[in-house]
Symmetry: C2
Subunit: 166 residues, 2 copies
């Protein structure tokens, strides 16, 4: 996909939905720790994590939150959407290799403003909910199609040794 387009408020009905799948990698956890500064050992210290109640490193909860934002901002409603609020419950840990499906569904359309409320459900490959919540967005009122920007390539390196690339 080289372009990205939206659904406008008028095109969207209650019940409309969209979903996306993403498999968690160690690289994702490291990048998330770097961009957030969240170096909680549950996420980045394998030795600590092995002895913790989750027995291995787990994703940052807000990584799942970020995936919800990705569906809303790039798929549905897409460009022009303004994120107003999110609530999210973190129900189960997400491990490296877990395939997360993020689904959003419109449950309410405001009348006087182009505002939508959507349920957000993130499930793993065993169909267990790992996070659920509600998003509130101002939906776009104009049709937008624009170029899908190609992001730079990321390289992570420890001291002088290259260790991973996206």
């Amino acid at each position: 996909m080289t372009s990205i387009s939206n659904k406008t408020f008028d095109e969207i009905k209650v019940g409309d939905n969209s979903c996306m799948k993403r498999t968690l990698t160690k690289f994702d956890i490291e990048l998330f720790a770097i961009v957030s500064g969240d170096v909680n050992p549950a996420h980045v210290d394998a030795e600590y994590a092995k002895k913790s109640m989750f027995h291995d490193v787990i994703a940052h909860g807000m990584w799942t939150g970020a995936l919800i934002s990705t569906v809303l901002g790039t798929q549905f409603p897409g460009p022009g959407t303004i994120y107003l609020a999110q609530n999210i419950k973190f129900l189960k840990p997400v491990y490296i290799g877990d395939e997360i499906t993020v689904s959003v569904r419109v449950v309410k359309k405001y009348v006087r403003k182009p505002i939508l409320v959507l349920t957000c459900v993130c499930t793993n490959q065993r169909n267990k909910n790992v996070a659920t919540g509600f998003a509130k967005v101002m939906a776009p009122t104009q049709k937008i199609t624009c170029k899908r920007m190609v992001m730079p390539k990321v390289t992570l390196s420890s001291q002088d040794n290259k260790i991973n690339e996206n």
Copy 2:
């Protein structure tokens, strides 16, 4: 700081608080777009963003959410904290160069379980709230001090040309 330690549930009182400052860079926005897949043009397409209602690229709302998680997971209560839920309202756009202060404060301690509710307030350098909400966490019950892991160095490169480093 080469180590990271926590406050246990028993050590924490209602009213206790912690804060952290972080200045948004273009690099942060790009990394967040890469790790989340959220290439909404409001964040990564400068040309589009100039013509948008915000007149420039803005941070992903969930970047601010991630900073809240960073305070909770690395400072207060710190290691051993389990993130149960977050709600967050995105009130104002965050621009490159904005210095965001994230403050969390305990407003409720549960009696039967080591659960805390904290208010979360993110302000910019003009002391305007950019995001506010509540976090619910299970606080650690055991004192933990562990090594602060050093994250890999990140390099972003466009095609073959290196463009930025953290």
